[in-house]
Symmetry: C2
Subunit: 353 residues, 2 copies
DNA sequence: CTGAAAGCGCTTACAG
DNA sequence: CTGAAAGCGCTTACAG
């Protein structure tokens, strides 16, 4: 495919008056070559603009110097941000970064069945993807190192946030504002409803409510798949309960925005009638003044990459790293009105009980 | 790095009772092998779970079967969406997808200086990145095929939208609503202010205004770098002119949201006082009811990938593909009030002239 | 249709 | 410190 013959190690060696073996050593290993020789070879390599063939090197060493990034979505901010962080440190460490988009179950299946066997990578980073036991075994079988970025399982080394803590923070923020009837829009992954993350986030809500002796109305906990439009629909359900919630906690900022749209369309105001809080601190959250729980996504990517590199070097890094989250108060949450009757903006039938 | 010895072509050949050469042909080329032989080899390969070593194949053929995606940002929806489209068809065509994040000028420089020489890829697609003449020459020198996704230069094959047309549509939408004092928040790339895209978008505005005999107040055309916060600041400038605009056109949805925040904070309403229109149809635009010009981003990625594949196959595809855009009317734009004085919500000094 | 042989461009024990 | 040699796992003319 490449036009003009590229200069090879042999060319450099000849030009420098040494054997290919010595040239190779001079260019790679620190020791075992006379300083003068090393310099001469380096100089020639530079002059000839020599660059080693990665294929040949890989074939000879059995190492690929590349890692696979397994990502379920690319069109959502969270994933792009995470990948950006990963790419940065992996690339800087001299690794090639292969992108694998495995949106649906089939795609993921195909990935785990083929990639490992292809020996294309030394490691794989799964970005917030739940990995089944079977899939994990495939990977381990082939000896590739695996790390989770934004993952939540403790099955392999990971860097993520504490999902339960994030939701707990959001819940406590609302409780502090005097809210008691707090609704939650829970997100689940369409093809893996047993995914632990939801248990984590959902758990944080129950913990905070219980700890503060606030009863939970199960009618106010609705579940849907990730996405603003889905959340908007879920919010419609919440507006249909007998007594409206005074606050809504969504599992993501996108979902919070979806909920807000429904609230507004119903003629209610945010935060006067209903407070809304999201999770993420999506870059647009700032622009729409959305109160949220900030999670450091890019940092998770950076740290996960460092974790992977440490593992690859044979070190014993901390295999379970959780990054802190914190509430970012903006203008979609406000004090709950004590005298709130819930009937003011009621839909038909709401005042009945 | 990999644990157990993987099964090689030689293993398959031995097991099938043929030479490695024949095994190779049986597995790859369609012709030149007896049907029975081919089947036997295929069967053995399957049973042994044989997968060819990509390194060896590449070294032997001189082809890499992989393409580089050069992306300036990963944290913005536009880029993630584009990459998603590209990855899908490239992966399906059997190519590896290498991700190169080249945010700053140095990163881009490093990429163009090193990558081509490394012969790691057969092709590169630049995602909305302006490529200098020098950089393009480097690539061509090495014989790699190059394609632009979302690019705007006509220097190499590309798939994009017609920037001028998109802005023209937005402008005409506002004109049709009766707006005359239309402001535009123009976006520029921080490190390449001479980038043609801005000329394209900006041009569409001038064309539409001129064509409709509406005078342009240069005070209402402000320039800033991409980003909601920057646009919010640019909007402050627009609120400082003597006579306020009745509508604002932003070069992206993020920017439109930034402008809206400033407008609201100034005590003005959208769209009653000032209409706002963006460009993109970002997924969140729907949730905040933002009127915008929709561009098919994922499609651009898909098509660009197909364009690249066609080029790689030696075909002669259409080297300049522009995808259509269209206005998506939501609730941030409304009819201009004829009786608008511009003084109602004025800041100090605004009424003076 | 099939096999023996050379080669792709490196790396790395093994000797000196 | 340095070189000759073998090998990494394929592919592909070149003969049959």
């Amino acid at each position: 495919m490449n036009s003009s013959r590229t200069v090879s190690l042999a060319d450099v060696a000849r030009e420098a008056g040494v054997s290919p073996a010595t040239a190779s050593r001079a260019l790679n290993s620190a020791y075992g070559v006379a300083a003068a020789t090393r310099e001469r070879v380096a100089e020639v390599a530079r002059r000839l603009e020599y660059v080693a063939s990665p294929e040949a090197a890989r074939l000879a060493t059995g190492t690929t110097r590349s890692v696979a990034l397994v990502v379920p979505h690319l069109d959502r901010w969270y994933f792009g941000e995470m990948v950006g962080g990963l790419e940065e440190v992996l690339r800087a460490a001299g690794h090639d970064v292969l992108l694998y988009h495995v949106g649906d179950p089939e795609g993921r299946h195909a990935f785990f069945e083929h990639l490992p066997a292809r020996r294309k990578v030394d490691a794989v980073v799964v970005v917030a993807v739940p990995v089944t036991d079977h899939e994990r075994r495939r990977l381990e079988l082939m000896g590739v190192t695996i790390v989770a970025a934004g993952g939540q399982d403790a099955m392999y080394p990971y860097v993520s946030i504490d999902d339960a803590a994030a939701v707990r923070q959001a819940t406590e923020h609302l409780l502090r504002l005097g809210h008691r009837r707090i609704a939650m829009i829970t997100a689940v992954d369409p093809d893996r409803t047993d995914q632990p993350i939801h248990r984590g986030r959902t758990r944080g809500f129950y913990e905070a409510m219980t700890r503060n002796d606030v009863p939970i109305d199960e009618e106010l906990v609705v579940t849907t798949t990730w996405g603003g439009v889905q959340a908007a629909e879920a919010m419609e359900k919440l507006l249909s309960v007998r007594e409206l919630p005074t606050a809504v906690l969504a599992h993501s900022d996108e979902m919070a925005l979806g909920a807000m749209r429904t609230i507004r369309r119903a003629g209610l105001r945010v935060p006067e009638d209903i407070s809304v809080i999201g999770i993420d601190d999506h870059p647009l959250a700032e622009l729409v003044d959305l109160t949220t729980v900030r999670q450091p996504v890019r940092d998770q990517g950076l740290q996960a990459a460092h974790l992977l590199l440490a593992l690859l070097r044979g070190e014993q890094p901390d295999r379970a790293q959780k990054l802190p989250t914190r509430v970012v108060v903006r203008s979609t949450t406000a004090t709950a009105r004590i005298d709130r009757s819930g009937a003011e903006h009621s839909a038909p039938g709401i005042t009945r009980h």
